[in-house]
């Protein structure tokens, strides 16, 4: 078989799996409810609970304006745990044996999973954007820039999905995937510029936050949505001066490591 036809076959297999996953998402309402309600809750909680306390002086612009990109970044990173959860769930069920006994491409189960979870992230980004508009957030840039902002968020989420896929293939229990990833994701999304200005953080945390890719993806979205204060001084660190580039470098590194790793782990995990 030629390389081209093998690639086409893999893509078609992944598309079949993607379609199956999307159907399942539509038929298990709790997933959809969770992915739409929790972002709404986050936007409202931060806007009204922290909004008053944090105020404009810390962030340079209206806090709600500042906040939204942070909530977007946090939510898409959390959304990636769904990738791990669903993959671990599939591994526990007999369906994976069916897949394994078929002459399909071995990568397609994991590829189909991460691709279908882009769909979930798009839904939650859409819902969060609407909620944001309600609480006063506005996109102050061009359509193209705004699209770029969403694209960076989705690309980053896609990369994190692959990390979660690897985690799931190692731990193999949906609940453990959830608990394990929360321990990592909470600090990752909070020690960043998501909800507060990095200048308010103590030394070591500020350093971490400066180089944390969650900060750069947030910064990238903020800039592309036009939610930054034009009078504010430029960020001191390279990562936040070039947030789009820095984020994309992370995305490429993560994919380069975790795509082959996940596919290898899938082959091994499924043949126990």
């Amino acid at each position: 078989m030629s390389v081209l036809s093998a690639a086409l076959e893999s893509a078609s297999d992944a598309a079949v799996i993607t379609r199956r996953n999307l159907r399942k998402i539509l038929r298990v309402p709790d997933v959809l409810v969770f992915t739409t309600l929790s972002p709404i809750m986050f936007v409202l909680l931060f806007a009204y609970v922290f909004g008053g306390a944090i105020g404009t002086q810390d962030t340079g612009i209206d806090y709600r304006e500042f906040l939204i990109a942070g909530v977007f970044a946090q939510t898409v990173v959390f959304g990636a745990t769904f990738t791990g959860y669903s993959l671990a769930e599939d591994l526990q069920k007999g369906i994976i044996d069916r897949f394994r006994s078929l002459p399909m491409s071995t990568s397609s189960v994991v590829v189909g999973r991460t691709v279908s979870d882009i769909g979930i992230n798009l839904v939650s980004l859409f819902v969060m954007s609407l909620t944001g508009l309600v609480v006063g957030w506005r996109i102050r840039s061009s359509v193209l820039e705004a699209a770029g902002g969403y694209l960076v968020l989705v690309a980053f989420a896609f990369a994190i999905s692959w990390i979660m896929a690897s985690v799931a293939l190692v731990v193999r229990t949906p609940e453990v995937v959830n608990n394990a990833s929360f321990i990592v994701i909470f600090p990752l999304t909070f020690i960043a510029n998501t909800f507060v200005s990095i200048s308010s953080l103590p030394g070591p945390l500020a350093t971490f936050a400066n180089w944390n890719p969650v900060s750069s993806v947030t910064q990238a979205a903020r800039e592309l949505f036009g939610n930054t204060d034009p009078r504010a001084p430029a960020p001191e660190v390279w990562s936040l001066q070039h947030p789009v580039l820095y984020t994309l470098i992370w995305v490429l590194i993560i994919l380069a490591v975790f795509v082959p790793l996940s596919i290898r782990l899938y082959r091994r995990a499924a043949s126990r």
């Binding site: 199956r20 159907r23 399942k24 897949f99 006994s101 399909m104 499924a270 043949s271």
Partner: protein, 342 residues
């Protein structure tokens, strides 16, 4: 006749547990081999090796002329598998499940759809085609799983305990389906812990215990291997079992077996009805009351007992769930629902 399935010296260890201990097996094209053994004998492990789901530690396996380890993908085009636990997607409908499998066999969209419809019809599932599998009964799920194995009309089929957990009606239904498949010329390897099932479906039976084949032959050959007929007597009073056992030993050609729970003594004899009369006379003289007495040909359970020193199973397949309202699968909350809508 060419060999469709061949295994030589398959070994698979899980830590200290040896699941396959040098398994050798050959199945001729177009025949049915029953792999018979109790739980933990290595049946499922063997099937997982043949179907590329598991790599053996050592040994060689070939299915439809394709090396399992060297060309797994090529092999998967030529086999169908249906496992002990229905490998179906609960959130898809019956049609979507089969359609998905067809596409993953690369049959193309139109052919996959047509094949799905055809199989749903053949397996009496057409009425549930558009319903999500989650609400189906255990028996229906099993049929769908089996249909999934047949989507690409593979020349070699592996069925791992296809009737385990089914109620008697479901079991007989599954047997009829399998018999129909085999008439079409498919090579089938079937694992089972039910002797009755192997007897009914298989051309040849390989008895497997502790990961190796301990006997091989047709059902009749295996029965002949353990010698003649059996006398079975059931006593009224369990306290007299020991005495009855002594009397049976005097008449029989082998050590009698005693089943305390059923108050039953079984012994192999070579004198047919003469021995039966003789034993009944002895029991009568000893003042032992007999509830039931009979002469029968050896069953595969006797074969198993003679070969391994233990029974193949605790219960007979038809004796476990006679209540038709009983769920098929106790672990499955949906299994208790009534099958179909007719």
């Amino acid at each position: 006749m060419p060999t469709a399935i061949r295994a030589t010296g398959l070994v698979k260890k899980y830590g200290a547990v040896t699941a396959l201990d040098g398994l050798d097996l050959e199945v001729e094209e177009g025949t049915v081999l029953g792999l018979l053994g109790p739980n933990g004998a290595g049946k499922t492990t063997a099937v997982r090796v043949f179907t590329t789901l598991l790599r053996p530690d050592s040994g060689h396996a070939e299915v439809a002329g394709v090396d399992v380890l060297r060309h797994p993908k090529e092999l998967r085009r030529r086999i169908g598998v249906s496992g002990q636990y229905a490998a179906v997607d609960e959130h898809l409908t019956g049609f979507e499940n089969l359609d998905m499998v067809g596409r993953l066999y690369h049959l193309g969209a139109a052919a996959s759809r047509a094949r799905a419809r055809e199989l749903l019809e053949q397996f009496d599932l057409a009425h549930a085609a558009e319903r999500v599998v989650k609400g189906w009964s255990g028996g229906m799920r099993r049929r769908l799983d089996l249909a999934g194995a047949l989507v690409a009309q593979p020349p070699v089929l592996f069925l791992d305990e296809p009737t385990t957990g089914l109620d008697p009606r479901g079991r007989v239904g599954m047997w009829n389906v399998i018999e129909g498949l085999v008439r079409g010329g498919t090579t089938l390897l079937l694992t089972t812990q039910y002797l009755e099932e192997a007897d009914r479906l298989a051309d040849r039976i390989a008895v497997i215990d502790h990961g190796r084949v301990i006997a091989l032959g047709t059902a009749d050959e295996l029965k002949a291997q353990v010698g003649g007929e059996r006398i079975e007597v059931v006593l009224l009073d369990p306290a007299r079992l020991t005495t009855a056992r002594h009397e049976a030993a005097a008449v029989g050609i082998e050590e009698p077996g005693v089943d305390d729970r059923d108050r039953r003594v079984t012994v192999a004899v070579d004198g047919g009805t003469t021995d039966l009369v003789e034993l009944l006379g002895r029991l009568d003289r000893a003042g032992i009351e007999v509830l039931e007495a009979g002469l029968r040909r050896p069953t595969l359970d006797d074969v198993f007992l003679a070969l391994t020193g233990h029974h193949a199973e605790a219960e007979t397949p038809s004796g476990d769930t006679d209540d038709p309202n009983q769920p098929d699968d106790p672990d499955d909350p949906a299994a208790g629902e009534q099958e179909g809508v007719a």
